[in-house]
């Protein structure tokens, strides 16, 4: 009878290892809650879809991961579990996470001048990599999409004057002020980072780096990331992932850069992503910029962009309603893909209903 005692520590160790769920080839699943809270979530996210006028909230995918298990998944419109959906500006935060791997390789420092890695910025010798991650380059960039196409820097960059070499186009912009002082959301800043990465990891590794550094270690098999004609990744806009694969990046971030046994990204890097930019002022954007991720808290404790979500919520956000939300305190990762053509969708409303359905409470 006593012979079995030595097995107990081994048993505990095994239990401990199983206490944490990670996706293998597929996500482990957990039971989906049912009831009024789920109905309230679905009535908001999956309101009848209007494909004629394209008005209203048009969710393509909604996926919830709770403590490493897939507990909710629903698709609409033409999107399925196999669709690598356009993430638009979620790409920016993915790029920052790729940079995290290079940071772990000690290939650069945040206070390094960008011109060291991207010589076209010779007129801006004081601009640091950290300034670009904060969208605070000081470059006079106009981030407007379809409503003001004439003067939109981003439309010109993606489709006309800048499309062959997007970073070079961004670098040609004049400064409106010194770098590092003022937040101004800019896809140009993100593409300057994408160009700097080419020097940081070297031109030989660069074309495969996003896959070798991030996607393959996370088990992401089908990711597309488009480049411009110069071979620079369109870091601002053009990453495509399935909802299930984007959630893998979410779990990596929720667990402070660790994937299984491996610290893929240094904790200090994730801390930088989640540290609010000190010069951000209320009303400058719909959420608070961190290090190329969006936060629900600011240096000013009065600012809570999403009052019904916990303050530790952070997100990667993209045009037309794309979102990857991470709530470490509730162990939740939420992927929401959409095709919202008007501004009706509200992050706070979705987060409130997800919290009610999966965290069992509405936190204020």
């Amino acid at each position: 009878m006593f012979k079995g005692w030595f097995l107990i520590p081994l048993l505990l160790l095994t239990l401990g290892a199983h206490a944490e769920d990670w996706p293998g080839e597929q996500w482990p699943t957990g039971p989906t809650p049912s009831g009024a809270a789920i109905e309230a979530l679905e009535s908001y996210a999956f309101a009848p879809r209007d494909d004629a006028t394209r008005q209203g909230i048009r969710t393509d995918a909604l996926l919830v991961i709770q403590d490493g298990r897939l507990v909710y998944e629903r698709y609409a419109g033409p999107t399925s579990a196999e669709t690598p959906h356009l993430t638009w500006s979620i790409s920016k935060s993915l790029l920052a996470t790729v940079f995290g791997v290079a940071y772990g390789e000690q290939l650069f420092g945040l206070q390094d001048p960008v011109v060291r890695y991207y010589p076209a910025l010779e007129k801006h010798p004081d601009m640091t990599l950290a300034d670009l991650f904060h969208w605070a380059s000081g470059l006079d960039w106009q981030e407007d999409y379809e409503y003001a196409p004439l003067n939109s820097s981003v439309v010109a960059m993606l489709y006309t004057r800048g499309r062959r070499d997007m970073a070079a186009f961004a670098a040609q912009h004049e400064s409106f002020g010194p770098p590092g002082q003022v937040f101004r959301y800019s896809s140009g800043d993100s593409n300057l980072l994408a160009a700097a990465l080419k020097t940081i990891v070297g031109p030989v590794r660069y074309p495969d780096y996003l896959w070798t550094a991030l996607f393959e270690p996370l088990g992401i098999r089908h990711a597309t990331w488009e480049t411009d004609a110069s071979g620079t990744f369109v870091g601002s806009s053009y990453a495509y992932l399935t909802a299930r694969d984007l959630a893998r990046v979410g779990l990596l971030m929720q667990r402070d850069g660790r994937w299984g046994e491996r610290q893929l990204i240094p904790k200090a890097w994730v801390a930088f992503n989640r540290e609010p930019f000190v010069h951000f002022q209320a009303g400058q954007d719909e959420a608070v910029p961190g290090g190329h991720w969006w936060l629900n808290r600011a240096a000013d404790p009065a600012i809570h962009p999403w009052p019904d979500a916990p303050p530790d919520t952070f997100a990667a956000l993209g045009h037309w309603g794309q979102a990857l939300y991470i709530i470490p305190s509730a162990k939740l990762v939420i992927v929401r893909y959409g095709d919202d053509r008007d501004g009706r969708y509200r992050h706070n409303e979705l987060l409130k209903r997800v919290m009610a359905a999966f965290a069992g409470q509405v936190q204020r």
């Binding site: 494909d51 033409p78 669709t83 690598p84 959906h85 356009l86 379809e146 196409p149 004439l150 003067n151 439309v155 010109a156 993606l158 489709y159 006309t160 004057r161 499309r163 896959w211 089908h222 990711a223 597309t224 990331w225 488009e226 480049t227 411009d228 004609a229 053009y238 495509y240 095709d339």
Partner: protein, 102 residues
């Protein structure tokens, strides 16, 4: 007298307009390219990266500004779109790199 004032007003407006055109000359020259380039690029990615059906993608890229011609070569995974007097093509270049404007 009244006519004189009108003439002066029109002249001032004309000068202002010409000044604005001069200041915005680079953006104005590129402006007509937007619709065809946007439609070609985003349609190509919708079809060959997101692998959605053709009729869905035609609706997905539709904007208020109309296009005049649309040519998709399925074998080459290439899309050419004309609108506002300009024409642009996008082509699928690979599984990892997706589509790019030519």
């Amino acid at each position: 007298m009244r006519r004189k004032w009108l003439l002066a007003l029109v002249s001032v407006l004309l000068v202002a307009l010409l000044g604005w055109v001069w200041l915005e000359r680079v953006a104005l020259r590129a402006f007509p390219d937007i619709i065809s380039a946007y439609t070609a690029k985003e349609y190509c990615s919708c079809r060959y990266v997101m692998e959605q059906p053709a009729d869905y993608c035609r609706g997905y890229v539709k904007q208020a500004v109309p296009i005049s011609e649309f040519l998709e070569t399925v074998e080459a995974k290439r899309v050419t779109v004309s609108g506002l007097g300009r024409s642009h093509s996008a082509r699928w270049v690979g599984a990892r790199q997706g589509c790019r404007l030519e």
